[in-house]
Amino acid sequence: MAKMNYRKRLIDFDKRTVESPDGETFEVNPMQDYYCDAKPKVHPPSKIAPLETFYNWCRAESIFILGFGTGCGAIEMRPLMGPMYDASRFGVFWRPTPRQSTVFFIGGYASVKTLKRIVRSYEQMQGPKWVFAVCSCTINGGMYFDSYNTINRLDHYIPVDVYVTGCMPRPEAILDGIDTLKKRIKEGRGEGANKYAKNFEWYKANQKKIIKDWDMPDYNW
């Protein structure tokens, strides 16, 4: 093995006893206290078809995108907020926290380091949730296809609903992709969260294959 004697982890996740300012002592188990590691469940759509259609229409018409720029393609989100393309007239808004957003906008190449954060953010989003991947890099690696540190296919790690090709795609193409996503949701085909829960083991195995410092529970909503 290499001579590199890396410190084990940047944050200590071992069990330990902590003394509070009042003098009490109590045990802290960060893996359980800081995260919840319950496995994801499949949440089937409502049984009443017209109701589900209405819900899906609402979901499609009010898209909250997670403002997490994961790559160079994220720069194409900014014109969409501005007066030139103005996505808010189509019901597209940006939220700064994964808890409140429903669409994950993967902007371009995802390095392994970013992928770890992508997986965590994705799992923290509340279902039903969708992934919107732009740029060639998320599809087949794009110009980074032979990079030692950039993933090639995003759909092996999280379920992707819509791909937009281009390097980078124009904002018009992204608006068109949002239209496609809306159509998918309205037709009831946007069940990425359930797909993730169903094939959880497979996705996890793929993620763990490349993320070397797995210092979190398997699922940390």
Partner: protein, 307 residues
């Protein structure tokens, strides 16, 4: 029967608030030369949050936070004479007075602080400290102004305050006690969560304030309250300073007056909001404790000396 009226009042206010939110979103967008969202977009946003399939609860206080917030907004509303003299819209206004309403105004913030604190997110904790500091500073000139008009009218009952302003436009507090009105209108900006005092909830700052961890139905509850609370507050201001909304001969005319008054008082915060950039918390606290607080003190002196 009052309960039915109160629920109906809250329901109508929610709808009015949602439409107002759409209009204001449009105003903001047009100022930025955008086309802007659809007027009915706030409705979809709220329904969309209600029908989220999963949600996470972080504890009892986290659960109660939105409830407290809703109680704050709804409480102000049902203890106010929304339309003075009408049985329908006054609900419980004879049962509560100014002190109760002032209490309700702070209840929501406190509930949010406790709920956001229990979510365990560091951003929520920072935003709670910021929010409480700013809200407290903004309440200070408001309370001075309310002291002033309470001594002016010698009553704590909102109904009587409104009654004293009837008859002529010149009977409004705006003209009988202008200093208190100005102080209170400046304090109004601080509690509407619009620029320049929106550092607490602004997405570009430490995101997104106390509700960082709130999602799904919890967030829907908060969004509902965010439509009620500003409207309730606006109605309070209309009652205290702009003569209230008295029942006219026809209901239509009453509603027209109601919407005009609340709309323009609400718009005051929007006009300021689109024109001025954001204050930091220390700046806004200092700002509230200077001119508005001084005006409030002057208003009390003005009333006491009978000038």
């Amino acid at each position: 029967m009052n309960i039915v009226y109160a629920v109906a009042t809250i329901f109508i206010t929610i709808n009015y608030g949602l439409v107002l939110q759409g209009i204001i979103g449009k105003v903001y967008a047009r100022v930025a030369t955008r086309i802007g969202l659809r007027i009915y977009q706030p409705y979809i946003n709220i329904i969309r949050q209600w029908v989220t399939r999963t949600s996470i609860n972080h504890g009892i206080m986290y659960y109660l936070g939105p409830v407290f917030r809703f109680t704050g907004g709804g409480g102000i509303l049902i203890f106010l004479p929304v339309i003075y003299g009408a049985p329908f819209f006054s609900s419980f206004s004879s049962a509560g007075d100014m002190l109760l309403i002032m209490y309700f105004m702070f209840l929501g913030t406190l509930g949010m602080a406790l709920g956001g604190g229990e979510s365990g997110h560091p951003y929520a904790a920072i935003a709670v400290t910021r929010g409480l500091a700013q809200t407290t500073a903004a309440e200070f000139p408001l309370i001075l102004a309310i002291f002033s008009i309470v001594t002016q009218y010698q009553t704590l009952d909102v109904n009587q305050i409104v009654a004293a302003q009837q008859g002529s436009v010149l009977n409004w507090t705006l003209f009988t006690n202008p200093l208190a009105t100005i102080a209170a209108m400046l304090a109004f900006l601080g509690s509407m969560m619009r620029s320049p005092f929106d550092v607490v909830l602004a997405p570009q700052e430490i995101p997104i304030g106390p509700p960082t961890e709130y999602q799904s139905q919890f967030l829907a509850m908060l969004m509902t309250n965010r439509t009620i609370f500003p409207v309730a507050k606006t109605i309070l201001y209309v009652n205290l300073f702009f003569g209230g909304v008295a029942l006219q001969d026809s209901w239509l005319l009453t509603f027209v007056i109601f919407f005009l008054k609340t709309f323009f008082v609400y718009m005051w915060s929007v006009f300021v909001g689109v024109s001025f950039p954001r204050f930091r918390v220390d700046q806004s606290v200092r700002w509230f404790l200077k001119a508005p607080a001084a005006l409030g003190v002057l208003a009390i002196i003005f009333v006491q000396t009978g000038m």
